[in-house]
Amino acid sequence: MSDYLDVLSVLILLSSFILMANKRTKSHIRTFRIQAAMIALAAGIMGIDSLYKEGQFDLLVVCAVIIAIKVIYIPHLLKKVDANVEYKVEKDFFLNIPILIIGCCFIVVFTYFSISTSEGINAGTLNMRVVNSVSLILIGLFFMISRKKAIGQIVGFLVIENGIFVTAMFATQGMPFIVDMGMFIDLLSAVMILGIMVFKINEKFKSVDINKLKNLRG
């Protein structure tokens, strides 16, 4: 069982690499959807496991919610937003892809260097999963830094969220149920607000190039 999870955590990490490599917003959203699906899968596996062992439904519910929100709704929402705002930006990243990928590799290495040695985490598989998911978070942040478009930033934020969720799930079999639910609600409303903001930015700045938001300085 745990082999599946290991594989999944690696795949999730990989998906973030791919995300970093994507050029177009649409593909961002697609990759994110895949990632979310994989997380849902992992949650499902663990859920079945815990149901089988302790007879708890929590994780399964969580899995369902993930599928509902992260796999179906949010990508759909983003697509809609994406469709309704027009882009003028041609190249929406500061550095070119290879360098970004190398950066990601560095992040993974760094995370390994800084986390794995600390006792309490360096317990076999846990170690690797935590490293993967924490580096997933940092990569998400890195993604936000590297992308100019509003949507890109939203996606990056979502990736960070994923990373945290995965960390929680792998490291501690998921947070207390109520906390998880709250997180999802927050996430949902956050994405909605961000979506609205994107519209507003688009109407005020005639573009969603975040790099144009530079009036407030000093």
């Binding site: 500061f94 760094f110 995370t111 260097f113 800084s114 986390i115 040695t117 600390s118 940092l138 942040l141 890195f142 936000m144 830094i145 100019k148 930033q153 975040i210 790099n211 938001l213 530079k214 009036n215 407030l216 300085r217 000093g218």
Partner: protein
Amino acid sequence: MLLTIRNMGGQGTLLFVSILLYIFAAAASLVLMKRHKICNIVSNTLCILAATAGIAASIIEIFFNQALTDIHIFQSTIPLLSIDIKMDKLSAFFVLCLSVLVVCVSLYSIGYISHYYGKRNVGLFNFMYATFILSMLFVMISGNAVFFFIAWEVMAMISYFLVVFESEQEENQRAGKLYVIMTHIGTAFLLIGFMIMYSYTKSFDMFASSAAIPPFAKNIIFIMFLIGFGTKAGVIPVHIWLPHAHPAAPSNVSALMSGIMIKTAIYGILRFVFSYLGIQNTWWGVTILVIGIVSAVLGVAYAFVEKNIKRLLAYSSIENIGIIFIGLGVAFIAQAQGNSTVCALAITAALFHSFNHTLFKGSLFLGAGSVHYATHTKNMEELGGLIKKMPVTALFFLGGALSIAAVVPFNGFISEWLTYQSLFATITPGQSVINILSILTVAVLAMAGALAAASIIKLYGISFLGLPRSDHAAKATEVPGIMNIGMGILVSLCLLAGLFPMAVLQGIDKVTLGLTGLSILGRLKGGFLLAFYPMNISGNAISPAVIVGVLAGVILTVLIVIRMIGGKYIERKYGTWDCGFEALSERMQYSATGFSKPIKIVFKALFRPTRSIKIEGDLTYHPESIEYTVSAEPIFEKYLYGPLVRAVKNFSKKIKFRIQTGSIHTYLIYIFLAVLALMLYNRLS
């Protein structure tokens, strides 16, 4: 809990009364805010009463009380913050200076403020006036460093508001800004000093022993206190605020600021450095001495070339503070070298000069105020001939001028004489550096004295004598009598202190005894007439009263003799000698600028005068107008503070946009890096 009295005594009660009266004065002026005249009279009267109580309290403390007055008012719920009042002879001495000045200034204000009626918020002004005095009083009698600090800060803040009270002039705003910034930075150093002091002794009690503080820390604390108090005292090079702030304030406040507020710094140095820390190194004294020398000579040099009456007086305050610092420096050196007699003498000199400066600078600023009141200008070039328009003011002003010029028989001379004598006693064969320093100090004192006389002669001669140079001056009338009374008391005190120095020395010696544990009064023989020099050397003595007697006698004889020779005195009025030009006008008189020109040329290097001549019309024969302006270059502003401020501002301007670029990506990078950094730190720690 409230009010535990450890040692109250009559003086404590009186002190309390005076504090309450000040509070009443403040409150009254707020209550009566709308009724200007009544408000002004009531609050000033209350201030006078309070000050009288203060005088009584301090005199009792100095002459009759043995232990120190110690009242614990209340322990705040905020840790470390408690309000204690402690008054020993040192505090009492400064309280005395304060109260004497306040009595006269308040009398003066009753008349002076009348030109605010209906124009400005008199109630607010009087409120701040009373609070300002109260804060100074608290500075002098505070029993622990925290309360001292609070009183100090409040004093700074309120005096700032008073400086900008006439805020419509741009320059007053700038003066106030400069003042508040400088004083606040100085206060930061004080804070550091107190804190280091606390971190070793674990207490803010400045009457306790400082034995727990190691020597190197004492050095740091000393430097902090020197900068902190020096800023308030306005010694060079941290003086730049003084010549701007003192003229900007209303004249009665200027009198208080120049007369006593800058003395709080002297009190601070004596209290915290001399009495609390104790002198441990010679270089402390040397530093203070050098600062004193520089301040004395530069202060008076700038005063001499000044055209604005009040600014001239402000610069001369710098000089006098310099002289006081010289006294302190000598005292500290002597103390460090264990020569306690010289130390006591020098302290006496310094205290005496503080007292004198309070009197005559107070009176002079009040005089300047009267001139401004009558003519609405502070610029000498527009004055002249006031001695006929306002004779009483002129007379009193002359008294103040004589005492600031340190000529017999006025008090200014006595304290300078004591300073000279302490320098004389410091020079002993075998300690080269101190000797050279001392003799240079003598030279500087001499020069400063002469220049001070010259600048006050210029002030008086240009603005009171000769012909009026403008309508303001021509239309001037004598100011209300009450103002002259206030000024007159101060001046007559100057004369009395000069004639009978022993009377003052009796008190000051008690203070010195409390400070240094050594009385020089035993060596000051001769009752109230003579002041003998304490160093067991025959002859070093002066007898101002007798000398005045001789002068009077000589004059009398001369009158008689001349009467015998030349018969009755017949006088004929005639125009001033004008080489037959027949049209001597006020514009041909010597101007203030012209008067100071020779010195300006001699000390070109210092003043770096910048001239500009504007001539209209035919230059050679009939120019319509020639405008000649010369201005001394403010060295410290230009070469020290200007660059500093500019550098800081540019740094801030540059770095501002580097940090807050406006690009959200940069901000995210910050967070990213912060995370990485902390993870790294955690890994490596």
